[in-house]
């Protein structure tokens, strides 16, 4: 199977662990990730906070490039995914502003966005029946006894009409994924609460309050690790949790562990709060 892939800036840097584990798992499962040629940064929160045109035009250039490949588009970063899907919805609603932005970008990039692209979050992509079925048969080291809470974060399902691929208040797909891998999934009420990721640099004090609460609640729920599908959440909680030592894992890292992939150290070593002692104690690495 071949899909278009938009890694976004963070998978090449602050979320290199997410990028490496995603690529390794896909290789193992015969999924070819075709990186969108010459993609640019989507602009994220700084764009929509400061310039409405850039907030739509920057992601639109990527959508035009992706549409040109004729492949479905898979996006691992929740921030990028959110922006891509919101832009896709904006263009397809066809307002005067949408026509204007699409026309302007076309005059620069050479092509209009037709609004036909299928855009999926990496978690959504892996949650498809066919891939889950395949995954199940490949699990050789089930995560039995590993107590985790699924953490979806704020941007994966909101605004629902443009981006939700699961229930927007009570999503289940990450829960199902972790159960499939054999982990013990703990219920908790914080799976959609915001970690403050966009303020990781300018307002560390606020962020520490928010991440501190999340980690406290995860522990209270009985979890040994939090599992995420967002590079902003992971980096933010991993670096701003005031030495509480909670490993913050990407779901792709746990797939890799359950598949028994050999090269896990190359991404697990990149975490600030080292997850390896925990995974070793469960004989997963």
């Amino acid at each position: 199977m071949k899909v278009g892939y938009y890694p976004g800036c963070s998978l090449h840097s602050t979320a290199a662990d997410y990028g490496l584990s995603t690529e390794a798992v896909c290789r193992q499962m015969n999924i070819e990730l075709a990186e969108i040629p010459d993609w640019n940064c989507c602009g994220a929160t700084p764009a929509h906070s400061t310039n409405e045109f850039l907030a739509k035009a920057l992601p639109l250039r990527n959508l035009v490039l992706a549409e040109g490949t004729g492949l479905d588009l898979v996006v691992p970063c929740t921030g990028c995914y959110n922006v891509c899907r919101q832009t896709h919805g904006f263009i397809n609603r066809g307002s005067a502003k949408a026509h204007d932005v699409n026309g302007t970008v076309a005059s620069i990039v050479g092509k209009k966005y037709q609004g036909q692209l299928k855009i999926m979050h990496l978690l959504e992509f892996f949650s498809q029946d066919e891939i889950m079925g395949d995954l199940k048969t490949r699990v050789i080291r089930p995560l039995t006894g590993l107590r985790v809470v699924p953490y979806y974060g704020c941007l994966m399902m909101r605004p629902a009409e443009d981006v939700a691929f699961d229930d927007p208040e009570q999503p289940q797909k990450l829960d199902r994924m972790l159960e499939t891998l054999g982990a013990e999934v703990k219920p908790w009420s914080y799976k959609m609460d915001c970690c403050g990721g966009s303020f990781a640099i300018p307002k560390a004090d606020i962020v520490t309050d928010l991440t501190g609460e999340l980690v406290k609640q995860a522990k209270r729920a009985g979890a040994e690790a939090m599992v995420t599908a967002c590079p902003l959440c992971q980096a933010n909680i991993d670096t701003r949790q005031a030495n509480s030592g909670m490993p913050i894992l990407y779901f792709t890292e746990l797939i890799a562990a359950a598949l028994g992939l050999p090269e896990q150290n190359s991404w697990l070593a990149k975490h600030i709060s080292d997850p390896r002692p925990l995974l070793k104690s469960h004989e997963l690495i």
């Binding site: 800036c9 840097s13 700084p46 920057l58 303020f199 300018p202 600030i272």
Partner: protein, 189 residues
């Protein structure tokens, strides 16, 4: 006129058309708000912000531009869209706040939370330079703007050791296209 939501010592100069302008710019049906406060109940920055989410909407309705544009609330919004998800009237307050941030920047007001717009500006400048976010470059610009040179040094070093912050930027090949998009962005705003 004095009332509880007015800043002390300010005279209220209602901008009668504010709600119309912001409804148009944000696409949000602000007039529908009936102050149920569901938005405020779920807002993660409610404890730190000087206005509640429902108060932002109310102040737009009554046209108190001053109070809105000088508040720290517009900068503290995390764009998590919890307010949008919960509003029974389909109002996305974060989209309203984005328009207010734009107005404050346009009027070159001194922001109540200066580091946040400085971060946004550094981020966008860095993207304009290479087409992709070059984190170290962005952090450099941000530190110069905010004079916070030593903040998070230790963390930065840990990230570099783990290969999570790269020394060299990645560049988009057709960088002229990205630059042209930025140029249009300056024209349109």
């Amino acid at each position: 006129m004095e009332n509880a939501v007015l800043a002390k010592g300010t005279t209220f100069q209602p901008a009668a058309n504010l709600v119309k302008i912001i409804e148009k710019e944000s696409g949000q049906p602000i007039s529908r708000c009936y102050q149920c406060k569901k938005c405020s109940a779920g807002c993660p920055v409610a404890p730190m912000a000087d206005l509640h989410t429902n108060e932002v909407i109310r102040l737009v309705q009554i046209g108190d531009t001053e109070r809105l544009l000088n508040s720290n609330r517009i900068w503290l919004c995390l764009s998590c869209k919890t307010c949008q998800a919960r509003c029974p009237n389909g109002i996305d307050t974060s989209a309203v706040i984005d328009v207010l941030k734009g107005m404050a920047l346009e009027q070159s007001r001194k922001p109540a939370e200066a580091k946040i717009p400085a971060f946004y500006k550094s981020f966008m400048d860095a993207v304009n330079m290479t087409g992709r976010l070059y984190e170290l470059g962005m952090i450099g610009l941000y530190k110069m703007r905010t004079k916070t040179y030593t903040e998070d040094m230790g963390l930065g070093i840990e990230m570099i050791k783990r290969g999570k912050l790269k020394f060299l930027p990645e560049k988009v090949k057709n960088l002229n296209q990205v630059k042209e998009i930025f140029r249009k962005g300056r024209e349109k705003k």
